[in-house]
Symmetry: D2
């Protein structure tokens, strides 16, 4: 399914409820971080290994938290005139320059600390 | 562009750097909320009206923050075996039941407070 | 009550449970943002006016979320050797230089945009 | 130094700038999570061990991020009529009931999963 098709579904859902009036960029960003917090809740105090197991045991809930963030993110992009797929491709290219494969391979350092 | 195509691009970028080893669910969720925080930074202390203007003035930066969150979110879904488009459609359906259009129209109340 | 007395109480609570082993700086910062997310949940989609009313109606819950963040923050500071009161006074002084009262009065602009 | 003394300093700083008008509960909670995100940035992709080292190397910056969260948290509590020290003591007592020392010792499980 394309991002554009999903975005059209989100827009239809929102407009049937006349919610565009509440969906200014600030409140979208606030809702996004609140949902990202619910996603994170699953992993608080867990080790990295335990988090793999958690993702299996609580898959249905985690799947829903991911969807919540995504739905908001797709709409925010659309509302401010950003084509999400193009923005993602542009950022991947930027990251390719920031993190040359031969330099970044196997390292978890930030680009400015490589 | 489809979510699956974008996800394949993200996977290729990651694997060229041998980063899968760092991308456990916990650290993905941590990175997602950290990027969501960078997005939110643009709107701190702003009124809702000012946030519309900010989204115009700082569009390039905000577009990049949105892309950062999206890239991580697509990969997390993929890593734990979630089809993001299906998860989003399922959640939209659940929200349609939670927020019947005639009851939710023009209201910013939560479904359990409608 | 002093910050030092409260910190001693938090330390005693933690050590009676042998939890210091889990309280590395990263996991403390993760727990802090997760609790900050629970605090924020109360205000998602609300207008600024509605948030005042919410703080009255849900005071007991919001009080508890604030306490959760504070308990973690006091302990993190202590764990890494930071005197929280001194750190706060130093930051207030820095903010006094960044935001001269005559320039910042009545403005919600960031110091680099004043 | 007492929480009350620090809160008085924060109040004086704010009122000299006439900023109370911007400090509704929602915008305080938004600022708190944005600052918690800056704190978290230091630890993204780090292992738990690396985070200890990071806290030493970047102590000055991390100390400042902790202070930023604390200043906002003390003010939010004050603005909505919460005595922060009492709220913290009450929450510690609640946690003592939720996490009996003999049951919770050495475990990173949540109280409802102990």
């Amino acid at each position: 399914m394309t991002i554009e098709e999903l975005t059209a579904r989100i827009r239809a859902f929102r407009d049937a409820r006349d919610w565009r009036q509440f969906h200014n960029p600030k409140d979208m960003a606030v809702a996004i971080i609140a949902e990202a917090g619910e996603l994170l809740q699953h992993f608080v105090w867990k080790t990295q290994e335990q988090s793999e197991q958690r993702a299996v045991e609580k898959l249905a809930e985690i799947r829903e938290e991911i969807a919540d963030v995504a739905i908001l993110l797709f709409e925010l992009a659309d509302n401010i005139g950003v084509k999400l797929d193009e923005a993602m491709l542009d950022k991947l290219e930027k990251n390719e320059r920031r993190y040359p494969a031969d330099k970044a391979r196997g390292s978890n350092a930030k680009y400015n600390e490589l």
